[in-house]
Structure formats: C-alpha cells, structure tokens
Amino acid sequence: MAGGAASGGSALTDTYAESRNWLLMPAWVVLLILSLAPVAMMLIYSFLTKEFRGGVIWEFSLAAYDQFFFDRGLFGDEPPVIEWTYIQIFWRSIWQAGAATILSLVIGFPTAYFIATRPEKVRPMWVFLITIPYWVNLLIRTVSMKFLLRDQGPLNDFLIGTGLIDSPIHIVNTNFAVQLGLFYSYLPFMVLPIYAAVERYNFTLSEAAADLYATKWVTLRRILLPAVKPGVIAGCILVFVPSLGSFLAPDLLGGAKNFMIGSLIEEQFKGNAGNWPFGAAASMILLSMVLILLMLFSRQQAKTQASEG
C-alpha cells in the first residue's frame, strides 16, 4: 500500500492494467444494453405518438409533454392554459417524499449518532441491526405496515388497550400513512451515511468547544453538525430520491386519493390509461429531477472534499 495516504483503504494498483478492457467488457456490454439503452429508448418513446391501447406509432410528437404541462380543452382547439393536474401530482410526491425525509432525519440522526459513539467493538452489531429490515422485501414491509396500521390492527388495539385512545385512529388511506410507509422503507438509508460521518468526526473539536464554555447543544449545532453535514445531506438524498418515485407505499397505504408520480407512471403502462409516450415523458421528468438532485449533491461533496484538502 502506498504509505499512509491509503488510510481510507483504497489501494489502487495496476497489476492487471493490460487486461482491464477484457475484464470490464461484460459489465459494459450488459449495462449498455440493459441499463443505458432502455433509458435512451424511453427518451425516444416520449417523443412518439400514442397508439390507441398501449404501444406507440413511430411519428414524432410533442403531445406527451404538451399533455403534461398544458390543457387545450376537450377537443384540443382552445388556447393552452397550464395543466395543473400532473404538476400537482408531482408536487404532492415532492411533499410526501420531503415529509418522509424529515421524519427519518428526526429519528435517524440521533440513532446514527448514538451508534457512532458506542465502543468500537459493538458498532458493527448495531449497524447490522439497522440494516436487516432494509433487506426484507419492500412489498412485505409495506404490507406489514398496512397490517399494523389498520383500524382494527395491532397498533390501534395496543393504543386502546393502554387507554391512550378510546376509538381507533384512522391512518390507512391518508397522506400520513404514505409518509409513514416511505419513512419506514428508507429509514436505514438515513442512518448509515450519518453514522459514517459521525464515526470519522474528531471529538477533540467538541471538547475544545466545551472547554471554551459552549453548552452541549451549542457544540452539537455549531461544531458537530457542520462537520457531519455531507453525511446528513447524503442520508436525505438516499431517502428522498427513492421515496419520490415510490409506487408501493402510495398504492398500498395511500388508496386512490393519494396518487404519486410512481402511480401515474404505472397507470400509463399497466392500468387503463395506456398512454406509453405520456408515461415515458412523466418518467423522463422524474428522472431529470433525480439527476439534477444527484448532480447538485456530487458537486457539493466535491466542494467539501476540496476544502478538506
């Protein structure tokens, strides 16, 4: 290993440099064909004309994007006004994903901090406990959540049994249920990056602040938090991004009223709507939003790394 510089554990060497093209070839072929080409094809489909029941006609058209943003009346001959229906669905998705992200931050930050300050030997065990539920099937976890939250479900039974409430709280099929479902799905993603950041944090900085009569909470807010900010942002992105495109939580926990982008897209391909170019356009808009977020994030990370030297 190249001296102390490799403390991060990244020992890049060139033992197999001359065969690297062959070694990378399978990954390139598979991912170009099955990952990149499909997205490119989706982009093309979003500019095609819809066929009556699913599928497309190979004729260039902006109809899908036009339908997304503008309303031209029932017969399409009125002057365009902004179509709010789909923008509202996107806005609701952003709001739902945002609420879930804040909820996971409130629970996830103290958890990550607590784990990172345990003795070194027991930390991996804690991390393991947090990650196990993530690896359980998302569908099963969402169904479990629905089962738990039902009006006659175990949570209401428990709350009535302890005398906290008199009649069941109605949670399923509300916005709040969707937020809970998203929060539950991606909570481990919030904990892990914050944990990694706090674990690397140099606590002598906090001690120095305390020696200068800063209170604990001031130390947390003004010394620790700025230092672990990249981890917090990473956690927020990792919860927000998959929540945004989620399909299962709104479908199973939200009911028909609490439609999100994922459900809108699904409708176009599997449901009755059957408008592939429109579904492709909605997917492109979702993908662009996500990629812009990730780009801002990686630029911010690069800036932090540069300032750390």
Binding site: V30, L31, M41, I130, V143, F203, G262
Partner: protein
C-alpha cells in the same frame, strides 16, 4: 489537560430515540410473523397458535400458484446472482487493479447507474426497450432485467473487499514465476472470496425481492413470489399471505446474516 465537566459525546434522549428506531424497524415484521401463526380464519381476531396457514401455502387451493412462483423466483435469483456476481468480480478487478485509465469514472458511473435511476423508471424503460426490439416478455426478460440491476449490489462489497487486499500477495506470487492468470485465480480470487460471497448473497436477495421491475417486464401469467403476493394482497390481506411473507422474510434475514458473518470473519487478519 481539561477534565470533562460532563460527557460531551452523549446527549440525553438519543438512546431512547435509538431504541424507538429499532422498535419501528422491527415491529411490523414481528407483528406479521406472530399473526402468521394465528389459528383464526380472520386476520383481525387472535385465536391461538397454529400452523394451518403454513400448511395452506403448501397444500391449500392457491398452493400450485405459489409453488410455481417460488420456483420461478429462486431459479431467476440463482442465475441472476451468479451472472451478475461474475460480471461484477471481473469489473472490480479492472477498477481496483487496473491502474488509472481514461474510462474509469465513466465505467463507475455505468456500474452505479441502476442505483441512481429510480426503480419505476428502470422498470418502464426496460419494458419499452423489450417492446421496441420485439422481445417477447416472459421469464427471460425478467432474468435479463435482474442481471442488470443486481450488478451494482454485487459490485460494491466485492470492490470494497479488494481495496482492502494489498497487492503484495499477487506480486510475491509473480516473483515466484506465477503467471498473471495464476496470481489471479490462486491468490487474489481466494482472498476476495468473502466479498464475492457477500456480493452474491446481496444480489440474490435483491433479485428474490424485486417487485417493481419484475411487475413491468414479466409476461402475462408469469409470476414470481412478490408479484404473486401483490396480486393476492390487492384482493385483500389473507392469513396465508402472512405465512408466505414470513417465510420469504426469513430467507432474507438468514442470507443477510450469513453475508454479515462471512464478511466479518476475515476482518481479523
């Protein structure tokens, strides 16, 4: 030396929140597991312990459907995990032991692409792609889609493991006249094994559990366990679904636990 007036590291309230976090993460899974042993026909009323719903999964009216779905799921998961792990192992070798090269960043971007694109977008894009090239949807389309999105899950533990192995082992072997191929297969590969096993198990679970992508690229009438479960749940939550969920949940927990101990076992070297 300053004596700490209080423990600067610990905050009141963080421990209860951590415990609350664990309760939140596990409560739904534990509740469903408990209710899967319910003797009652209704999911609401508890009537004592019984294995009847487990029996129902295997011999009940829907058992044929579930068995076929389970077989599809396991066959796809085994093949997808094997293929994606092999591809990821080769790619990791090039990325970690291939020096610095021009396409390195681009390669890494391509490998992590399935992690960055929202799952529903991958699902739709794959459906469109198969449709555009006129590829009939069925088991094969599910398998191909699974291989692609399993690659990053297999890649990450493998490359992490390889970054922890110094290249002096392979160099020593080659000083003793081993060819590069021999140094790779006899020295590097065995040392990487814990990472490879970890990667395989994670890819296996990811494939076994996938619902969204499978739901879009499967052909009509072809089911995997998650799509079969989803179909049943849409008609109402029944006790047999809780039994089958508990079994699938156990498989995932066992796999992750094995993966954890395998990758942990050699950190003591």
């Amino acid at each position: 030396m300053a004596t700490a007036k209080f423990d600067i590291k610990s905050y009141a309230g963080f421990k209860p929140i951590t415990l609350l976090c664990l309760v939140i993460l596990y409560a739904p899974l534990v509740v469903v597991t408990i209710y899967s042993f319910n003797a009652s026909k209704s999911i609401t009323v508890w009537e004592g312990l019984s294995l009847r719903w487990y029996a129902d999964v295997f011999v009940g009216p829907e058992s044929e459907k579930f068995k076929l779905a389970a077989r599809n799921s396991f066959v796809i998961a085994i093949i997808a995990a094997t293929v994606s792990t092999s591809i990821a192992t080769l790619a990791a070798t090039a990325m970690v032991r291939g020096g610095r090269f021009r396409l390195r960043t681009l390669s890494f971007g391509l490998i992590s692409l399935p992690l960055m694109v929202p799952e529903i977008v991958t699902a739709v894009a794959t459906l469109i792609f198969f449709n555009a090239i006129g590829f009939d949807r069925g088991l094969l389309t599910i398998l191909l889609a699974h291989i692609a999105f399993c690659i990053p899950f297999a890649y990450l533990p493998i490359s992490a493991r390889m970054q922890g192995i110094e290249d002096s082992f392979e160099q020593a072997a080659m000083d003793l006249y081993a060819t590069k191929r021999q140094a790779f297969t006899r020295i590097l590969l065995p040392l990487m094994m814990p990472g490879i096993i970890s990667g395989f198990l994670l890819a296996f679970i990811v494939s076994l559990d996938d619902f969204i992508i499978t739901n879009f690229v499967k052909g009509a009438g072809v089911e995997t366990l998650p799509t079969a479960i989803f179909g049943s749940v849409k008609q109402g939550l029944k006790p047999n679904i809780m039994a089958i969920s508990t079994m699938l949940l156990s498989v995932s927990v066992v796999m992750v636990t094995i993966s954890y101990f395998v990758s942990k076992s050699d950190n003591t070297k």
